[in-house]
């Protein structure tokens, strides 16, 4: 049976080298090589590789624009969100290649595969979720200013303004908003947990499913599930990337008359609609 924690192959100093880490490192190397080759071949008149990547970017921008509502903002968020999408997608699909989970070493009765899907390791999904949420908050601080951004969570300013009116109703609403701000702050941590566990859970479940099916019937039977995993790979990459895009968009948007949770709810609903369409 596949353990939840990635299997340790060896140690380099204090760093345990797990099979998921091998996978993510291979993906990192592939991305570096790809970026280097593409960078060398960039030209006004695009070649096949550049053309293909530009087409992919244009397709990505169509979905990004629907969330950000602005091409400039889509371009601004592309490096993080686009890379997340591509990295998660490629990692998920790379985990379906023959050899992943099947070639390894045996320690007594325990079989340790050399390769395991990178996103079936909570360390990677947590790292990406942390980049997503911390990045969106940093962006909010730099875009709106420190106090405007954090006033969304710790609403001392709104509460003070309400108290100064000496209007009981407004003071009551001010206290409610103050409490809601704290709930929002907690929801930021919840975002990290939900993002990381969603991706980890789906990919890990897929790994387990294919392993179970393959152990029951070795040939042909896993194929439909592998096709399903191809689709899940796209869906999970899209969900993670779009939610990150929503967080970035919401955090960099100025708080208007609408409350923060309304804004967030609308943006997230939009993103989820796209996932459903995908």
């Amino acid at each position: 049976m596949i353990p939840i924690a990635a299997e340790i192959l060896t140690h380099i100093g204090p760093l345990p080298i797990t099979n998921t880490y091998v996978n993510s490192t291979i993906m990192t190397v592939i991305f570096i090589v790809f970026a280097f080759v593409l960078n060398r071949r960039l030209a006004e008149q695009p070649g096949k590789l550049q053309n293909a990547f530009e087409s992919l970017l244009n397709l990505i921008f169509v979905y990004f624009d629907q969330v950000t509502g602005n091409r400039e903002r889509s371009k601004r968020f592309l490096p993080i969100v686009g890379t997340m999408f591509l990295f998660i997608l490629c990692s998920n699909w790379f985990g379906l290649l023959p050899g992943t989970g099947t070639i390894g070493i045996r320690h007594g009765t325990e079989f340790i595969p050399f390769l395991r899907s990178a996103n079936s390791d909570l360390n990677l999904t947590l790292a990406m979720a942390l980049i997503s949420v911390v990045g969106s908050n940093l962006l909010g601080m730099f875009t709106l200013g420190f106090f405007t951004h954090w006033n969304k969570f710790i609403q001392f300013g709104s509460l003070w303004r309400a108290i100064r009116t000496f209007n009981l109703m407004k003071i009551f609403v001010g206290f409610i908003e103050f409490g809601v701000g704290f709930i929002e702050l907690i929801s930021e941590f919840a975002k990290i947990i939900s993002l990381s566990l969603r991706l980890f859970g789906n990919i890990f479940a897929g790994e387990v499913l294919i392993t179970v099916i393959a152990s029951l019937i070795g040939f042909i039977a896993p194929i439909p599930f592998m096709f399903l995993e191809l689709i899940f790979g796209i869906i999970q990459a899209t969900v993670f990337a779009m939610l990150t895009l929503v967080y970035l968009t919401v955090m960099s948007a100025k708080p208007h008359g609408a409350t923060h949770e309304d804004e967030f709810g609308a943006a997230e609903a939009d993103a989820l609609k796209h996932h459903a369409m995908a």
Partner: protein
């Protein structure tokens, strides 16, 4: 409480070093993609998009200029046609006046020639008449000489002249 939460994290495979390593891996990918792919590629795409936009604008302007040039050409052609028409009319009128002038001159010339000719004919006729008179006189003298025999020629001539004058006055 802490050992329990640590146990949960450990059972989920969370490890500080692993987390840092994965974080670094992903950060490297983001940095490399940002530096080598997205920034230069977006710049190229923007530049190309601008070129296409400029090209379309230029084509539109060129079309407008062509249309303006066509209108200008038509205007110039119309002006030239009108000017040519005026010039033609002017030339025609000048030619007509020259023709009339030349015709007048020719008529005058002809009339002068005719008058000269008439004068010459008159003179010649007068000269012929005088010569005829003289010849007639000579004939008369000769005839009278023949008839009168040996009359004085001067007398005969005066007689003849007298006779001719009478004929002429008759």
């Amino acid at each position: 409480m802490e050992p329990q939460s640590t146990n949960i994290l450990t059972s989920l495979g969370i490890n500080g070093w692993q987390f840092a390593a994965q974080f670094v891996n992903f950060s490297i990918v983001v940095f490399v993609m940002w530096k080598w792919v997205y920034v230069p590629l977006l710049k190229i795409m923007e530049s190309r998009s601008k070129q296409i936009s400029d090209g379309l604008t230029n084509a539109k302007q060129a079309k407008e200029r062509l249309s303006d040039a066509e209108i200008e050409k038509e205007r110039i052609l119309n002006d030239a046609r009108a000017e040519a028409h005026i010039l033609l009319e002017d030339i025609r009128s000048k030619a007509e006046s020259i023709r009339k002038e030349k015709l007048g001159q020719a008529k005058t010339e002809i009339e002068k020639h005719i008058a000269d000719a008439k004068m010459q004919i008159k003179n010649e006729r007068d000269a012929s008449a005088s010569a005829l008179q003289r010849d007639v006189a000579d004939l008369v003298v000769l005839a009278t000489e023949k008839v009168a025999g040996h009359m004085d020629p001067a007398h005969i001539r005066s007689l003849a002249t007298h006779a001719i004058d009478e004929i002429s006055s008759a």
